[in-house]
Structures are given as C-alpha cells and as structure tokens.
Point group: C3
Chain length 134, copies 3
C-alpha cells in the first residue's frame, strides 16, 4: 500500500498568536509544495487604482493569492510560510491585524520586512509564500 499521508503541525507561540503568525510550521509525509510568487494588489478587480490605500491593497493581495492557490486546489489555510514586504514599517501592526481575519487560529510562519520599493510606485505591500497540501 502507498504511503500518502501528509501532516502539518504548528508551533503556536504566545505573543506571536496576537500578531497572527506561528513561530514555525512543520510539514511531513507526502507533500505537494506550492511555491507562490510575490503577489501585489495595487489594482482592484474592476481596474480601480488602490494607490495610497494600505488596507485595500492588503485584502487585494490575499484575494489574488487565493485565486492563484485555487487554480491548484489550495486555499489560504494551506499557506505554511510567508514573507510580507512592506513599504513603511508603520504598516506592520496594521498588517498583523488584517492578517488575523484571514486565517483561523493556525497561522503561517511569517516575516515582516520593510523595504525601499517594488515594481511600481503604487505598490505598498508584496507577499511571497509557500503552501503545502497532501
């Protein structure tokens, strides 16, 4: 018989839970790994610019990631690790608040890094991540 299990477990942390990330996520067994590109969200689905609107861009980023993941039968909850690149450090806490609404209690591992720029000047946040499914 084939061994087909995949198991995912979380190191849940203490204060990290309030910042909506896990110190570590562990995957084992027969893993399918989805290497997700950096996603941005400076433009709404209807073409409107979201320049200057951090909250809207953040939601758009994860809407866009969700669509990419859906193409391979995954959802946001399958994300195990992410790097959040921000245009201004003062968005860091707001980012953790918004992220809290996207996941249940099992958060991905994450780093939050402030950088100098992105592909276009409108972009305020870019997220690169990895998802794992059975």
């Amino acid at each position: 018989m084939e061994e087909t299990f995949m198991e995912k477990s979380f190191v849940c942390g203490t204060w990290q839970q309030k910042r909506s990330f896990s110190p570590a996520v562990i995957t084992e067994g027969n893993q399918t790994i989805v290497w997700v590109a950096g996603h941005t969200g400076a433009t709404a689905d209807d073409g409107r610019s979201l320049a200057g609107n951090f909250d809207a861009q953040f939601h758009q980023v994860f809407s866009n990631i969700g669509k990419t993941l859906a193409e391979v039968g995954c959802k946001l909850a399958d994300i195990v690790s992410m790097t959040v690149f921000l245009i201004d450090a003062r968005y860091t806490t707001r980012m953790t608040e918004l992220r809290g609404g996207l996941f249940g209690d099992n958060f991905p591992a994450s780093a939050a890094i402030t950088v100098s720029g992105f592909a276009t000047p409108e972009i305020m946040v870019e997220v690169q991540c990895v998802a794992v499914r059975a």
Copy 2:
C-alpha cells in the same frame, strides 16, 4: 516497487508570462530540494569589476547560480522559486526582460523587491532561489 516520480507543474498566468515569472510552481512526489544561497555577480569570471553595470551583474548572478546548480546535477530550468533583490526599483522591468532570455516558457515563481543594500556597495542585484529535481 519504489515510488520515485517527481512532478512539476506551473500556474502560467497571463500578464505574468510577459514579466517572465509564474504565479505558482507546484512540486510533488519524491523531491530533491536544492536550497540555493543568495548569489551576487559584481565581479566577472576574469576578475573585472562589474560595478555600475546592471545587465552584466544580472547575467553574472545567473552564471554563478548555474555553476552552483551544476555541482548537484541541476540547471536553471530546475529553479521553482526565487526572490530577486534589487538596489533600485527602476531596474525591475529590465530584470524581467533579461530573465525572459534565461528560461523557456516555464518560469519560476518570483518576487522582485527593492532593498537598501547588500554585502558590498558594488552589488546591484542578489538572487536567492530554490530548485527541485527528481
């Protein structure tokens, strides 16, 4: 009988194809993962400085990555994910043009991030990546 297959598939995207990256790359089965360090290319093979020459540094970076991958029986086409760190956001589009020549139609997932600096002042681009082979 041993299960030894490894399968790689691509979410190909639309506009992303013109920027020479895939929204996601999926790897499954019996994967050998090559965790590649950040590679730079501020110095040519003959010792000349490539300071100030973005195109030359970009090609040198991937020449250097190619040599590292060759040591473990891999090639650039085995790269599934990369993060491109740039010293100036205005090199982003040029980077995607140069990258288009390195891969066929199956591009790695990628993020392009502009940062404040690297190990030495001459470095204009650093690429960290992951390759997967059977």
Copy 3:
C-alpha cells in the same frame, strides 16, 4: 519496508566558507520541513532592551530560533536555508563572523540583505529560515 531515509548534503564553496554559508544545501528522501518565521532579538531573556547592540541582538535571534526549533526536536544544525535581513549593510561582515561560531563546518545556504526597517525601531536584524530533519 518503508523508505524513511533523509539525506542532506552541502555544496561547500571556497570563499563562501569564510563567510559562513554554503552556496547550496540539498535535501532528499523523507523530509520533515520546518518553516520558521522571521525571528528577531531586540529584547534579552530577562527583559532588557538590546537596542543598539548588534552582537547581542544577533545572538538573541539565534537563541530564539533555537528555542523554536527545540519545540519540534530540531537544532540550529538542521537549518538548510536562511535569509538574514539587516538594518545596515555595514553589519554584514560582522554577521558572517558571528554566524561562524554557531555552526560547524556545514553552513546553511544564506542571503544577506539590507532593508529599511522592521516591526519596531529597536530591531537591527531579523532571520527567516527553513530547517529539515528526517
């Protein structure tokens, strides 16, 4: 009989060895992957601020990562890849010196990137990494 081996090997490089990283680390077989969040170390275990003290923050970062890894039966030597985000490029060489003391001769793959900021102004270094064990 189950196939349960996991094998890790290193591309050791030449000058990279003196900067305490490997050009690439290869993992194959039945891998358990630990996706580790970005860890910082601006506060000592006893609550003292380590603001302004790069060496102390660096050691604290890896002390914190070590604790996270210990929760899942791993140690620093299981790290295969890391990204070191620094607040000032001039800490890069010092970082490689300090890192030399943390690992044996088998270093993780690594990128060292200077960025604009972190979650709080005291943070001078953040490390995101991946560990693999059997």
